[in-house]
Subunit: 332 residues, 2 copies
DNA sequence: CTGCACCATGAAACGGCTTTCAAGCGGCGC
DNA sequence: GCGCCGCTTGAAAGCCGTTTCATGGTGCAG
């Protein structure tokens, strides 16, 4: 196991018969060097197996090509599709992702922001993270681009890419009314986003003349087991619902399983709608009506912003609405 | 939005009335400086809001405090618990994680290894990734610690932390025999690990006098929908099974749902066992018998190895067996 | 009191790349 | 034939820490 020191830029340069500066230019901007020189350098790179030291590069250029992605957790997260798309798109663009977990309660947010800033990341992408006034101020007062995703705050820290959770609530209310449901029951995770969707739903539902829905709150992160519990909890309701609006597809799935075990047919006796349009929504039996969020779209918009900034665009706050779609399936 | 340049080490030093070297020592090894000096430095750090530039630090010390974690994907991954534990434990230890996705088919493995090496990561942790001879050679010929997890290869690249998938197969066979099942059917994802478990199962099952099980292979990543399909596929079998051995809890869950829809009672008419012991296994109705892997244990062992190496331990290959446990529940 | 060991600290030399500045060179318009 | 322009390239000055080596001072044994 011989471990010869990794080759350096100047060694490649010597081999190619040019200066280190030229090799650097070739690597970062191939068009800048003459074609013949480029060929010689490329050959030297291959011959030595040279891999640039990105730490040195980051130090010299104050551009780390490292993006911090902060999420509460990944074991059971509705954001995983978005995060996966983000990492893939960034990798294709030549950046790497530093993934940091802030915990469901955001306990580690400050610490992780510091870690990201210490690494001098080019950008911090927040997904599904609530930031208090203090954190927002800190994030505003630093040079990296900050992208909030999955929501559209009134006062974005920098750039926000997401959708209106309130509008989702409206749309679900609209959808269920159009299908003729009368008595909705809400199962709402204790997250600001989910609460906002619920509030939007109630707003529209009652405006349209519906009677106030019943509601139960559940802990985050939401998961299958909560759906089961939520169904059992419904036994206590004064007026039995004809449709359950679930804060996530997992909850919807658990609720359907429990209903079926109790002999309640879905959707004939009880309709169910989820949120997130996870793969299982289309796979479940019955298939689950849900709300689709295009994570890849969010990811691509984020990259677009980052590229624009890297190209010198003035950092000007923006809110990008990526919308959402109710996907009607069997369950509602 | 004023963006004054980030404070530097020497500014903190001047404010504290010491040299930059001393501040550096205090930050990396507080015990090295006198108590009174430490207090002054700490105060200066707080006053300036100093955050060390880890790129510069990495360059100077050739220690990046950055660990690359490579996984095939995260949207639907049985490794997420392990990865989450890994990131949390590493963060607690002061390192950050660069998460890279290699794709279900490992297509991006080479590219991601290069990205990690370019960042001069302290270690590369592979989870659920198959490496061909070429990749293994490359990984061996570089200075970073390489940790393979979730498996115990015969010839670890460097350190392996995992369990024997073959032994899992043995254990499941043993377990099902002891419960009196006679006719198993295997639903096996097309991943080397899953195939190895299946092979171990068959080995033990037939050795103990059981008749050869039927088997169907399914694509990776495995998910709920495949369980449903797998159940339907069972209609064609010559001899109907009395227990289905699934390659993941998701498959098991999908299979149970489909069985119930078909009027087949689980486990009375058909037993099911999963793998991974995801949270939903305990939440499903009926609860799913599964095989538990302690992801956090794997993560902690990995940290232990990294710390030992950082402390100067000679890099000597090792295979650490973290074992596994069959969790008996209602479904089998 | 001397000498020695040890602790706390500072000065300065890197670490490997980027980028500014300047210069060489060939070509083109006049 | 001259001057200017633009394209390539090189030299060298950073970027911001870490670490080695050296030094001054302190305490303790003899």
């Amino acid at each position: 196991m011989a471990l010869p020191r990794a080759p350096r830029l100047d060694e490649v340069a010597r081999l190619a018969g040019v200066s280190a500066a030229t090799v650097s230019r070739y690597l970062n901007n191939p068009g800048m060097v003459a074609a013949a020189t480029a060929r010689r350098i490329q050959q030297a790179v291959e011959e030595t197996g040279y891999l640039p030291n990105l730490n040195a590069g980051a130090l010299a250029s104050s551009r780390s090509r490292l993006i911090a992605v902060l999420v509460p957790e990944i074991a059971q997260s509705i954001f995983n599709d978005t995060v996966e798309a983000m990492i893939e798109e960034l990798a294709a663009d030549g950046s790497s992702v530093m993934l940091a977990l802030t915990g469901a309660d955001n306990r580690l947010l400050d610490q992780q922001i510091n870690a990201a800033l210490s690494r001098r990341v080019d950008a911090i992408i927040l997904t599904g993270i609530l930031t208090d006034a203090d954190a927002r101020r800190r994030l505003r007062e630093q040079p990296a681009t900050v992208i909030e995703t999955w929501a559209l705050p009134d006062d974005p820290i920098d750039v926000a890419i997401g959708f209106s959770h309130r509008a989702v609530g409206h749309e679900i209310a609209q959808f269920l009314r159009s299908r003729g449901y009368r008595q909705p029951h809400l199962v709402v995770p204790r997250s600001p986003r989910a609460q906002e969707r619920a509030s939007g739903f109630i707003e529209r539902w009652t405006t349209e003349g519906g009677s106030a829905p019943s509601q139960i709150d559940v802990p985050v992160p939401s998961h299958f087991g909560q759906g089961r519990l939520a169904f059992r909890g419904m036994a206590d309701l004064a007026t039995p619902p004809d449709v359950v609006v679930c804060g996530s597809d997992w909850i919807a799935q658990g609720l359907i399983v429990e209903a079926q075990c109790a002999g309640v047919r879905v959707p004939d006796q009880l309709a169910v709608i989820g949120f997130g349009n996870l793969r299982l929504a289309g796979d479940m039996r019955p298939t689950i009506t849900s709300v689709d969020i295009d994570g890849r779209h969010i990811a691509r918009e984020a990259i677009r912003v980052l590229k624009a900034r890297a190209a010198g665009d003035p950092p000007r706050p923006a809110a990008i609405d990526v919308h959402f779609r109710v996907i009607a399936r069997e369950s509602a």
